[in-house]
Subunit: 318 residues, 2 copies
Amino acid sequence: MLAVLSGEKHPPDMHPIEQSAVVRYTDAAGLADALRDADALFVYDFLSTAVPGAWHGSNRLRWLHIASAGVDPVMFPALRESDVVLTNSRGVFDDSIAEYVLGTILAFAKDLPGSLRLQQRSTWQHRETERIGGRSALVVGTGPIGRSIARLLKAAGLRVSGAGRTPRDGDPDFGEVRPSTELGDYVGEFDYVVAVAPLTEQTKGLFDANAFAAMRESARFINVGRGELVVTGDLVDALREGRIAGAALDVFDTEPLPVESPLWTMDNVLVSPHMSGDVVGWRNALVEVFADNFWRWRAGQPLRNVVDKRLGYVPSTN
Amino acid sequence: MLAVLSGEKHPPDMHPIEQSAVVRYTDAAGLADALRDADALFVYDFLSTAVPGAWHGSNRLRWLHIASAGVDPVMFPALRESDVVLTNSRGVFDDSIAEYVLGTILAFAKDLPGSLRLQQRSTWQHRETERIGGRSALVVGTGPIGRSIARLLKAAGLRVSGAGRTPRDGDPDFGEVRPSTELGDYVGEFDYVVAVAPLTEQTKGLFDANAFAAMRESARFINVGRGELVVTGDLVDALREGRIAGAALDVFDTEPLPVESPLWTMDNVLVSPHMSGDVVGWRNALVEVFADNFWRWRAGQPLRNVVDKRLGYVPSTN
């Protein structure tokens, strides 16, 4: 029996799976009950925080798949300590998010928000813009999304370094990878700082007042990872006081971003609603990744994208 | 004697040249008088239309340099038929304009204008976006700016073709180059259509109702060339009636764009004020190109960027 935690909508393209297993769709309220007889759980509503509270109902669960790259919503102690195999949707969002990041970098460099504001007032006002070629970017997070970002930014002419858990040289995508724990030592070397690390105990609040103070005043900060990587109050202060030049934020510690957040109204901030990876067809792509694992599971084959529950992410083969 | 047609400001970095020649700065009103004794004219105010009307004053002029890539403001019959050598600022804007074009493509694909409008209303509204990888772009204009655009778009994952005066295969940047006179036959194959051709009798009004009718309804049109490449009324109609999906326009047949233009207020149009190539330092770069030619001219060496006055642009070596 497969339990599926749906959001407002059921996942698409489930018909073949429904032919091969008993599938029980549930919302958060029914999850504990649905888990009682479930062998597997597909967390399609990947932003739901309902799983820990319903976990007591699980009885025979052996596999949990989440329709996202970040697994932080299900990294609670009882799951970590269980034998339940956790898999994620690694790969679905890589290239879309990379394009999104490049789009925000170009928006800053070419002052596209300024052009749009002037257009709204039918005002012709020439400004000088910036090159992106030759500028430097630090990608904090060296998983597949970070790698795709690095490759695309390099193709567009930026110089790119990485920051991750394990410092190293000669990485195929990043060249040098710096230790993310020592961010303040080198973050000032970069024009753009991109946050795409998995949210773990080590990365929570990584971007705090110290990190922003160490950045260039001309630096732009881009977050396509998780809102909790950032101490939001410190970011707001840094932006207000001109300690950094701008931010493009697709993720927030509270989502939807509350209407009273000062981030909405800051001229040097681009807010988007957790959509950087969500290209047309993304929901089908997420079910495709799940289905691939489902058929492996039915056939007793090894699953793909197995999360290392101590690390909090799928270890890279690079 | 060197005459310099300045705009509001004199060009920077002219001191070395002032040490070596009599330099007379003039505005449009004084141009005919200044031309009387001038051996060379530097049109620094590159959008000025004053040169044809002042030409009768020229007496001993041998060289005219214009601080732009497009030479259409000085392509009047008397100059064409004279022995005056015409040079331009080829090369200064190539990579900046290419970045600008990629920025507008990403803005469309990721609906950045929509995000900014929603942000202004503090509204969280998830949308699905588009990939740019695998999409197709037609670059109309195969000079150095068009080539830089082609290279950058290809690096970012788009498939790129060119359109120009001379159809050919195996072009190093474009692969296939289609004949721009037959635009309607193939423009429907592309997701993005970029106008960057020089303005000549052959290209004036190239983008008319027929061309827009032949484009995909999902196509976006980007103009970083000259406003007169487009029949503006036809473009407005095509955008209003949904015959194309959007336009990013940096140049217009009248500049500044008049406040009553419907383009200002269309949601699917990005207006910018003829600035796509103007990165910080561009004025110095323009004078650098002029100065390089000035020293060649003083030394009796061949000039760079000599315009073929029959064609209306510097012939490509490719």
